[in-house]
Subunit: 129 residues, 2 copies
DNA sequence: CATACACTTGCATGATGACGCAAATACGCA
DNA sequence: TGCGTATTTGCGTCATCATGCAAGTGTATG
């Protein structure tokens, strides 16, 4: 889905054309942003990212002042959103940032926005939306 | 704030060093993501982005099924968040995407994440956070 | 000036979600 | 098997926010 074909093709449906060009409709998915919109989660992600290695729930909980149960819920949410990946070692659960995936998603959105820029698309077919 | 000095300086405070290197603490600001986390706002932003030119509130309201007042509030919020810029022409208010700013913010975060990647930072000074 | 249009704002409502505490589950270890 | 540690889950509460409707503000046009 992220590695779709980019070679030129004639007569694409609008939907496929959108995906192929990384149109902003497809890339601007609120799911990732919902995950990063909470300030506590932002701290947790930054904590794990800086750590580099996988962090246990208890370790991450020391980053902020909220309860461990809250941290556990936040990390599970971030994993579901694709921001983190989980690995279990015995009774400890380690979370790590999906560096390449998150970075790629952000760059895809940045690319889509750049493609929509006034220099590249100008006044299109008139109608708004 | 977006155009801070990037030239090399000796003896930076940690905060300044963080800003200079685009550390994830500073770049991972939930404000932008809060703005894009709502599905209705995502539609509105995509609508304006695809439009290329500035769109009036009424035009954007036709993109989705919510009331014009709701759209007005969403657009004002997005403008406060730095996603959109506003310009008034008579009695119509036009919103446009801050293409370069938003794109730059997203790439800065992607860069910060990449810098935190396991290949580039590995196991740092031991402690998590 | 009166009217119509474009937009904003006040207010009430319902939904979502973050949080803490307590209890439950999972697992290693003696 | 019993205990301690790590994590998850149930539940109640409080805050935030998205939405619609109605009323208000500002501006062009007759």
């Amino acid at each position: 889905m992220m590695t779709q074909i980019r070679k030129h093709q004639p007569s694409l449906t609008p939907k496929l054309a959108a995906r192929r060009s990384g149109a902003i409709d497809v890339v601007l998915d609120p799911a990732l942003f919902k995950a990063l919109a909470d300030s506590t989660r932002a701290v947790l992600v930054a904590c794990i990212a800086k750590c580099g290695r996988g962090c246990s729930v208890g370790e991450v909980a020391e980053c902020c002042s909220v309860d461990v149960s809250v941290v556990s819920r936040h990390l599970a949410l971030l994993a579901r959103a694709g921001v983190l990946e989980v690995s279990k070692q015995g009774r400890t659960v380690r979370y790590q940032v999906r560096y390449t995936d998150v970075s790629r998603s952000l760059r895809a959105l940045a690319d889509a926005i750049d493609e929509c820029g006034p220099t590249s698309c100008g006044a299109r077919d008139g109608g708004c939306c």
